[in-house]
């Protein structure tokens, strides 16, 4: 049911049910009542997905961890205003997406230039400088690392509006409906952006597909 009231979700987490068995909405209701254990459970459930998502958006691990922590702080401080109309994952990804996009805009204003993309095309989008590596590949680990770096660079080189949609869909595995709610877009716009992002990534990653 979409509209679930907080009162119905408010259960005694310290009673018969354990915190691990509680749903996200129930944990949020407990957090609103000041339950620190419920907040720790939410952190335990979402710390890795949120950190990974922000890292895919920024390609900066340290800053990604900081923004992931900021995401949880905002969840805690705004728990009283949380509306359980959609899934909690949509809600927390929305906060993380807004923080990541804000960080990208700050970097753009600061003219932060990645070492991997020091040049831009006519549209202002960064052009990935990827000189060929003439060295011999040593083993499978090196190949996997190289593939990971290539994917990270390709995602980072995407325009911002395509980046969030493709990461939420193909990296985090959210549905189109969830992505639409997370990004406050129509489902058709989300599908269009994901299609454009895949076309761009296909060109950049053709050697690895």
């Amino acid at each position: 049911m979409a509209a679930v009231t907080h009162q119905a979700q408010a259960i005694e987490l310290s009673g018969s049910r354990s915190v691990e068995a509680a749903s996200d909405h129930e944990l949020l209701a407990a957090i609103r009542d000041g339950d620190e254990v419920a907040f720790q459970e939410i952190v335990r459930r979402y710390r890795n997905p949120i950190t990974n998502f922000v890292y895919r958006m920024l390609d900066d691990y340290d800053r990604s961890v900081e923004l992931a922590q900021e995401t949880f702080i905002r969840v805690y401080t705004s728990a009283s205003r949380y509306q359980a109309n959609y899934s909690f994952s949509t809600y927390i990804y929305r906060i993380a997406t807004n923080l990541a996009i804000s960080e990208l805009r700050k970097r753009k204003r600061r003219k932060v230039v990645s070492l991997f993309s020091p040049f831009t095309n006519d549209d202002g989008d960064p052009i990935e400088l990827d000189p060929p590596d003439l060295n011999m590949l040593q083993d499978e680990t090196l190949i996997a690392n190289e593939r990971r770096r290539a994917v990270a660079r390709a995602i980072t080189s995407l325009p911002q509006k395509y980046r969030a949609a493709i990461v939420l869909r193909d990296v985090e595995g959210l549905s189109y409906d969830q992505i639409a709610h997370t990004l406050s877009l129509s489902e058709g716009t989300v599908k269009s952006r994901i299609n454009r992002a895949r076309n761009l990534l296909k060109e950049k990653l053709s050697a690895y597909i």
């Binding site: 335990r44 990974n52 961890v65 922590q69 949880f72 189109y176 299609n195 597909i209």
Partner: protein, 222 residues
């Protein structure tokens, strides 16, 4: 029959690359371009999904709790911030204005009430004189009176037994109809004035010895 554009749209929007509708699968088997598109999309999605995921550091929760405690303390003392000072100053000024207005309004209301209470008593025809001082002091006169009319509104005074003229009034509360006027010593303009002793000119010479007054004898000089 779906066109290649529609089929590619359905391929791209499929929840999973290998979960395609029967019509789409049938089209792919006959169209090599759409087959390459489907395999390319499946490979790309597999590549993106198979990329190693990063995890939160081991001290993630410790740092988060420290930051959260900082946020809580900051929210606790948020009213001390610069905008908080402005709000506090505005609230203080507003409170001072309200207090001043209340005092100003109360001053005028007391004056009007007092005038309304003293008016009928001042025109009373039969003045009442208390017989004893205790009756007067029991009246507890106010200190704010400066005129000579009455120390306190009579209708609020209780008496034990007061002689009004030649009859004894029953023990009750004086009202304006009783027509009494109570004069309170020291409170109605009647004051005691103490004049200090002033010595002017020469004083008679007295012989004082051991506390007794001694008359001077003849042949003796001082």
């Amino acid at each position: 029959m779906n066109s290649c554009k529609e089929v590619r749209k359905l391929i791209d929007q499929a929840e999973k690359p290998d979960l395609l509708a029967f019509a789409v699968t049938e089209h792919i088997e006959r169209c090599s371009d759409c087959e390459r598109f489907a395999s390319g999309r499946a490979g790309l999605r597999k590549l993106l999904a198979s990329t190693a995921r990063v995890s939160a550091p081991v001290n993630f929760e410790a740092v988060l709790n420290a930051r959260l405690a900082e946020v809580k303390s900051r929210r606790l003392f948020r009213w001390l911030s610069a905008p908080g000072y402005v709000r506090l100053g505005a609230a203080t000024a507003g409170l001072a204005i309200m207090i001043f207005a209340a005092q100003y309004a109360g001053l005028f209301s007391k004056e009007s009430d007092r005038a309304a209470q003293t008016r009928p008593i001042a025109t009373a025809s039969e003045p009442a004189t208390p017989q004893s001082k205790s009756d007067v002091t029991a009246a507890s006169p106010t200190n704010e009176r400066k005129d000579n009319s009455i120390a306190q509104p009579v209708n609020t005074m209780r008496r034990r037994e007061v002689v009004l003229g030649k009859r004894i009034a029953p023990a009750a509360v004086f009202t304006a109809e009783d027509g009494g006027v109570v004069i309170v010593r020291g409170q109605n303009g009647e004051t005691d004035i103490q004049i200090p002793t002033v010595s002017v000119g020469a004083q008679p010479l007295l012989l004082v010895g051991a506390g007794r007054r001694v008359a001077p004898t003849s042949g003796t000089s001082f």
